[in-house]
Amino acid sequence: MSTYYIYQDQKRCIGCRACEVHCKTEKDIPIGPSFCKIIPVGPKMSGGVPRINFIFMPCFHCETPWCVAACPTRAMQKREKDGIVFVEPSLCVGCKACITACPWGAPQWNQETGKALKCDYCKDRIDQGLEPACVTGCTTAALKWVSPAESTQMRRESSAKALAEGKSVP
């Protein structure tokens, strides 16, 4: 079962890409693939000021992952104990079925090894009681390592506050 979720607080995110770089240095990812990405959407006028959203796009570690179902060699796996979806490189044959299957663009291609690569929520860190590098290093603490249930509560609270202040809910 999915145990984890990365909550992104839009109000705190400044689009600095520290998450991307913390990810790349933690995992020594070569140039090209990226396990997470900030996608700026905007600017769009709202309340007299052009606003922008920085959408954090990691892997969502689906409960029923397209990539795992598509993988013919069982390289793409879902961890029993916490639902982390990861790729076992020794089993990957580079067929790219996972890349084709994922609607979110999460699995990445490693040109150097000819294998698929993807976010594993820094499972080695998780197993040590730490948080993923993107969350830990986030410049403004916009990313939070929570459970899916906690994330919905956080989202409700922030939306309720915005509504009470007469602001648009992002």
Partner: protein, 698 residues
Amino acid sequence: MSGSMSKKVFSVCATCSVRCPIEVDVENGAIKHIWGNPHLLGGRYLCPRGTAQKATQADTERVRHPMIRDGERGSGKWRKASWEEALDYVADKLKNIIEHHGGESIVFGDRGGPFNDLHRAFIKALGSPNYFNQHATCSNSVHNAHNAMAGQRRNTVAYDYKNCNYSILYSRNILESIGTKEAKDFIDALERGMKFTYTDVRWTYTAAKADRFFTLRPGTDYAFNLALINVIVGEKLYDAEFVNTWVLGMKELTSFIEPYTPEWAERETGIPAKQIIAVAHELSDAKPAVILHQGWMTARDGNDYYLRRSIYILYGLLGAYEAPGGLLFNKNETHCGFKPLRKFVNMPPKVEKKRFDGIGWKYKHLTADYGCGQMLPHAILNEDPYPVKAFICYRFDPLAAYPDPEAFKKGLEKLDLLVSVDINYSQIGMVSDVILPEAMHLERTDPVIVKGGPKPALWLRRQAVEPKYDSKPKWWIIKQLAERLGVGQYFPYNDIDELIAWQLQDMGFKLSDFDEKGFIELSPKQILFDRKTGLGAGFKTPSKKLEFVSSMLEENGIPSFPPYETPGSPPEGHFRLITGKIAVHTQGTTLNNKYLNEIQSENKMWMNTAEAARLGIKNDDLVEVSGEGVVQTAKAALSEYIHPEVVYTLHGYGRDVPLQTRSYKKGLRDNVYMKGLLTMTVGGNCPVAECFVRIKKA
């Protein structure tokens, strides 16, 4: 971390001039990850540039050994040298220069900041007054403005975002041109409910979070501030008690400000008068918990000095000095009852010679702490005030940072010796005689610094891993040169442990006191001066007050309140070129970092959508940018929210350093258009925004 081969090292980043506290995870002698120091930041937050230095440390495209040029200057021909040979070469040349022209013919330049005690000590030991840093194109005007008005530089006060209710940022793109703690503090303040107004000539990520955002006519932030002062004085919205106690020159300000009404400012800036009045009221309601960001890069135009003065006038009117949520004076070790940290710069005898740049004799109102490096080519070429024969350039690249690199280079060509000390290959390195590779910050320990603030501390940049190449730490390079030049006695240490013991000797601390958290706390709580009786300890002016009318300026024939001069518009068919920064790069110095380069390898030319349409330019079209005989191309990026008179690009691109293959000639180089701008303005800054270019579809 677990396992015997893992360790954590607390240190201080050196990537940009913010110098954030870091925690380095080291595994088997290699860097695993670079984080922020949680003991100082409250978490392991760290900006992308800081964490990406793991890749620079591992990079082969770094200066890997001493190099001596093996052909004409700038020919790109080098030979590998041993440290012994390179240091002897430099020392012999310097000895010869000192013998024939005196110590003052040597100039030392660096990036400024708190880690330059050894630099200042070294040049002073050689008998030269000529230290300067990058600030001619950074923050000279704001330092000098605060120095005249408050008797102290800009960075002698800290922002209390934790308690701030209202902030104004004048083109201070605080959420893109970031320091980790400042960006985090700012976002925390917004979450708490702080409101802010942002003015700029273009929309930025900072503008996107503003409560009010004004795209104003370039160079008119000063007019905006004058109108704020006009309203605050006219409606008596100021903090009368603070003003009566701590301000000198209120009468002169009152009469000066009269014509600068919001309606006048609307015509100057393009900001509606009623909005200016609203901002003035918001400031007054929030006072004294207000922060009007003094600026980071403040080398925009000739008027910049007076813009910065107007910011400090507003601080005075709003009583924000030493008020929670406003500006807090930085305290040092002596405020905490300690004897001062020993400084090397106090070791050599005082140098009585005139400075090369005129500061202290021709420009008495400007501080020698930063100097005016833009005058270096003039001094060299004209031997004015005397021959300058050697330039030691330490981790600094004036050919990338300053305007008009061709003009700067003409000066450099006439030198007898040009030495570049750097971790990276640089523009100035390419035309140097010798390049000495400094060990990068992750590979060296530097002398202890005092981190001033309301809660002062001692910080230490500490070696995390062995140098990857044949590079050396600063303390070693300086000591080696000093010994060879017969001034080794001013550097009484043989290794870094002895150096730090010498520094800490009077304070009662030792090196191991840094082990636990990476810093030494000097006071458990904030130290605040009494706002009624104690601010004379903060205002270091002759009157011990905030001098709106500055005695120091008046003595030097510089008016405190000259009449406002309207900035000009671009010549027909031209745009004003504005440059800036983003979070993933420190100007040109990080462009070759593989991870940062991957995110932003080229710059684009931003322009107003309507202006672009008039010229038949669409998004991502290649455009030709021409001016002063220079033609380059860049992709166009269109925005509705950039002033029509302006085009904007990222600073530092278009590097002409072949040894850095990832960034070599990528993008457009901005400073080559800035011809004739190696000049002195009243604030000591180069007016880098006084630059105009033509744009057409390529």
